[in-house]
Symmetry: C2
Subunit: 348 residues, 2 copies
């Protein structure tokens, strides 16, 4: 039986399997430390399209195609697709995945959307509403700069606290039954709240989001009665190096030391020194492609047995920024486990 | 047991109860045919705020407050809030509901979001993940015009196929157990696909969305083995009069005549003739406030026993419009029944 746990969490009665997944990235991500692990690296970041928005749509389309193929599924096997991106009115999604004619549940949680899609997707599967669903999210450096900051042609300088939006899309096929090739299992989740410390600096989104990550991780520990050492890794989405420091400090104040377990997809995906990405990577695609290419691989190989995957989102828009509003954060957390834990989980 | 039904649908094993709900609207909606049914009508459309975006946030905040109060719930009783709006990056939601500190799952389905929030919310409850959730969506005439069309100060003329974005927010408290005051029950749903007939006229959104509504309603009939006469009403979100004609024609071509059962929240909410709203009302708030104030009342009074509630969304953004893209549509459908059907449903 699925179970509501504590204030903000739930536990799946049966594990939800990540049947397979795929990652598609741009050139810069392909040159980074995880480059060889991605399923597809574009020749250039236009992906054969005339606009950055279409390029981002293509990322989603390709990621879903590859994930379905790797999972041995056809679009007709999938009850629904849970998808989102960072563009106004989620346009990369609307135009990216319609070709598959799979029912769509559109999501928006800024860069936390990859976690949100897996969270709701796993509810749909574990709740008996769907045999299989697909979760996909994307971001694109150029469409995000256009959407939130400055035209690329300005060549504006970026402070060292800024992150670099990942060009990439990660897609995941979830199912109720373990199949050949299944990569890992989702066993529980914590839904994040909007947390607003009043920061207004959109070039320090790590700082803006860290309080939300801290709130969700603390709530997760409380709801499940666990602590840092119960996880081999605690992995945020795109806090970068500045946000990481804030997160570790905030949780230390609450009595949790996650400095040994913590890493961040935005830190893993780029070599900040040589790639000039400042505080790290960010975007809806950052956590998604890192999960698919790197984290699930570690779980498959048994290097890690159980991780807490907590993508982080900065809730801002051009309009809210221009109206002088703060940048609230949100973070959703999922417990993702190695299939080596399967029999022990079923006995828990 | 919850059940995946057909290609795009699911049925709840136990009904999910709409424990209570609330509607907050602007002055024009208050002057319309449903005016006396709304819980709160603003004195003016600024709702005490300096910006239209903040005014829309206030709509959500007030609607959630009233719905919780009417349901006798505190924020701490609610596992999560499923919310969305039409603004870029869903800013009305991010700033509207954070005060409650309830975990948030942000959604984007354009004006279909009210259906999407009830659909996912009912999954969370029926799946055993949450005892209670809140679903809330909003739109505001002025923030939507600014977001999608022209500054109000231009005073631009609108063609007769245009709809008028509703200023309003509807909030719903869903729960697993029937309580005193419960208004109706959700018993099944059909998830909609993106349907794109290539229309590009953002001043004829009814025409753009009607094919999606037709697709979802047809799929619903197929998945559940039902037809128009199984529903006392089939209620779309905001097709208006132009979209209504297209919808009825499209479904007639598929062998379904819904002309007797069909109505549309956008048609019900305004008196188009005297209120100069052209084809009708639209927006995320349109279907939500009409459901709360009017449809649930009809179900409570037993005038209707079972309705198909199918909010409709037009997937466009400023950017997609300016890049010459089409306006795809999406529609999600929910079966909402009178509590007079409860014992017969439990025996089905």
């Amino acid at each position: 039986m699925n179970q509501s746990v504590g204030q903000s969490s739930f536990r799946h009665g049966k594990p939800v399997y990540i049947l397979n997944s795929a990652s598609v990235v741009g050139t810069k991500e392909g040159e980074g430390p995880l480059g060889e692990l991605f399923d597809m690296v574009g020749d250039n970041d236009r992906f054969g399209c005339d606009t950055w928005e279409d390029a981002e749509s293509t990322l989603q389309k390709e990621a879903v195609y590859l994930a379905l193929e790797k999972a041995g599924k056809k679009p007709g096997d999938i009850k629904c697709i849970l998808a989102g991106d960072l563009l106004g009115q989620s346009m990369a999604t609307s135009f990216g995945i319609s070709v598959y004619e799979i029912p769509l549940l559109g999501l928006y949680g800024a860069c936390s959307t990859s976690g949100e899609s897996l969270l709701i997707g796993s509810m749909a599967v574990a709740g008996g509403f769907a045999e299989s669903v697909v979760c996909v999210t994307s971001s694109h450096f150029a469409s995000a700069e256009k959407e939130f900051r400055f035209p690329l042609e300005y060549g504006n300088q970026r402070p060292l606290s800024a992150t670099w939006t990942v060009t990439g899309s990660g897609a995941f096929v979830l199912g109720a039954e373990r199949e050949n090739g299944s990569r890992a299992m989702i066993t529980g989740a914590t839904i994040g709240r909007v947390v607003d410390y009043g920061l207004k600096d959109s070039f320090n989104m790590g700082g803006c989001m860290a309080p939300a990550a801290a709130d969700t991780i603390r709530q997760h520990f409380e709801d499940f009665g666990t602590g840092p050492s119960d996880y081999d890794k605690i992995i945020t989405g795109d806090l970068g190096t500045v946000g990481q420091t804030v997160l570790i400090d905030l949780l230390r104040e609450q009595g949790y030391d996650i400095s040994k377990q913590h890493t961040d997809c935005g830190i893993e995906i780029f070599d900040a020194g040589s790639q000039d990405t400042h505080a790290g990577g960010s975007g809806c695609g950052c956590a998604a492609v890192t999960l698919s290419a790197y984290i699930l691989k570690q779980l498959e190989e048994g290097v890690w047995k159980r991780v807490l995957f907590a993508p982080t989102g900065a809730l801002l828009s051009k309009t809210s920024f221009n109206e002088g509003k703060s940048v609230p954060g949100i973070s959703h957390a999922l417990v993702i486990e190695s299939l080596q834990n399967e029999s022990s989980y079923l006995q828990r």
